[in-house]
Symmetry: C2
Subunit: 278 residues, 2 copies
């Protein structure tokens, strides 16, 4: 009986060349950045990103390395800090260079490079690489996925990862608490893409932003491909489609779940609790 | 400027021979167990532990391997499943073979071997090894610690790890929520010993059981040595001493913090909120 845990190691040979180049550059830059800089330097706010949130030095160091590596790959890029770079290609990389920046800067070893490939606007391939270990989760066109979700269909008994609760936002806090009340286990790893990969791998049953509209497309794009290739589903708490959009200020309350049924139940529980407390 | 993240690799050469033998056996047994068994087999409840909680197969596989390796080291042992093994030695190993068993069984790569050495009842040395990566945190007598906490003294602005909230326990839920309200960041990694090591390393500011009395001595013993060697402190929310006790049914609500001030503030905030909601 196989105990295979579902992840790969490093950048898979089948990956799109631009995706592979970006991931390799991210791994190298992360290693250099965390060797050469201390916590305070990595966490220093050095800019405002294209997504409207403050940018840490570690984000810039890794994103700049990636964009350098992509000079030889003229695809379009949508990324956290730089935003939308249009090269007139049919191929777009939607990318979070360092998902879990606060973890990465502080030394909590849970952060990831994560990106999806969209062809003519449709997500076809994705790769998430855990920067601290090189473990990776990939799914792409024409290759049967090695990923398989847990298959769980009900929230009762489920292990759910959540973004941290926000007590200052009572409707969202009520939604968070309702999931915590119903789930068998609750985790907050503070790295959406890695938590999405763990759903695709079957290690956890679901991951959700409890109605705080914190998720940007770069936090969800890879999970759409990885989870769907593995039998899972991605939803937004309020029913908005999670699809390619070059406006990085757009937000979602994403749900990544082991099955469509579980995704629907989470959306229903979260939106109902949110509205009841509004 | 060094970006050294504070952890070591594998079992340090300075470790007490019994501690080193136990850690090496745990690493080997974990690798074999997660290779040979699938999730359901690893998570199967196969016994009731000496601590009064159900025992998963992965706990038994790793603990049995450790006890086998300790046959040549006649120290006393206090461990999760077997309980208290008295060999009449001045030396006692207080040990959690697999901290974060649910993570380990499910494939969430956050679990640890963790043990402290007590000599004549006093904790002198500890080692926590992240089983998924081999990274380790050690502190022992006569050796300046390489660990240093963040030094943070106030809960406002702090990054705090918590055990999951328990909505069915209103006083404890109120205590949990009060810390979430005041802290800058909240994580739930579901592995107390690893979360304690991250406090000792300075990656997070504190870790706490929010007044649920879930912690056993094996969940806290290593953190006492690691945190104190690094400038931090360990407390119980209700003021009970965290010290060697061979009764494994005893429980604490542990706090591991970057400084004595932060530990005291967390104990005050948690116990006050708990009592106000009781």
């Amino acid at each position: 009986m196989s105990g295979g845990r579902g992840w790969g190691v490093g950048v898979p040979v089948q990956a799109h060349p631009a995706l592979a180049a970006a991931a390799s550059a991210a791994l190298d830059a992360y290693t250099v950045a965390t060797t050469e800089h201390d916590r305070a330097a990595l966490a220093a706010i050095v800019a405002d990103g294209a997504d409207g949130t403050p940018t840490m030095r570690i984000d810039v160091l890794v994103e700049d390395a990636i964009l350098g590596a992509l000079a030889r790959h003229p695809v379009n890029v949508l990324t956290e800090e730089t935003g939308w770079v249009d090269h007139g290609s049919a191929v777009t990389l939607v990318m979070d260079p360092v998902d879990g920046s606060a973890n990465a800067a502080a030394g909590v070893p849970l952060s990831a490079f994560s990106a999806a490939v969209a062809v003519d606007g449709v997500f076809t391939e994705a790769l998430t690489v855990w920067l601290d270990t090189g473990r990776s989760w990939w799914a792409g066109p024409g290759v049967p996925s090695s990923l398989r979700t847990s298959g769980r269909r009900d929230l009762a008994g489920a292990a759910v990862s959540l973004l941290r609760p926000h007590p200052a936002n009572p409707p969202a806090a009520a939604a968070w608490w309702e999931v915590a009340r119903r789930a068998a286990r609750v985790r907050i790893l503070s790295t959406s893409c890695l938590e999405g990969a763990l759903v695709a791998q079957g290690a956890t049953d679901a991951f959700a932003d409890a109605a705080t509209d914190t998720h940007r497309l770069v936090d969800l794009a890879a999970s759409v491909v990885l989870a769907e290739s593995a039998g899972g589903a991605v939803r937004d708490v309020f029913g908005r489609a999670v699809e390619l959009d070059t406006d990085l200020t757009k937000r979602w309350s994403g749900i990544v779940a082991a099955t469509p049924d579980l995704a629907d139940e989470l959306a229903e529980v979260l939106s109902t609790a949110y509205r009841a407390a509004s």
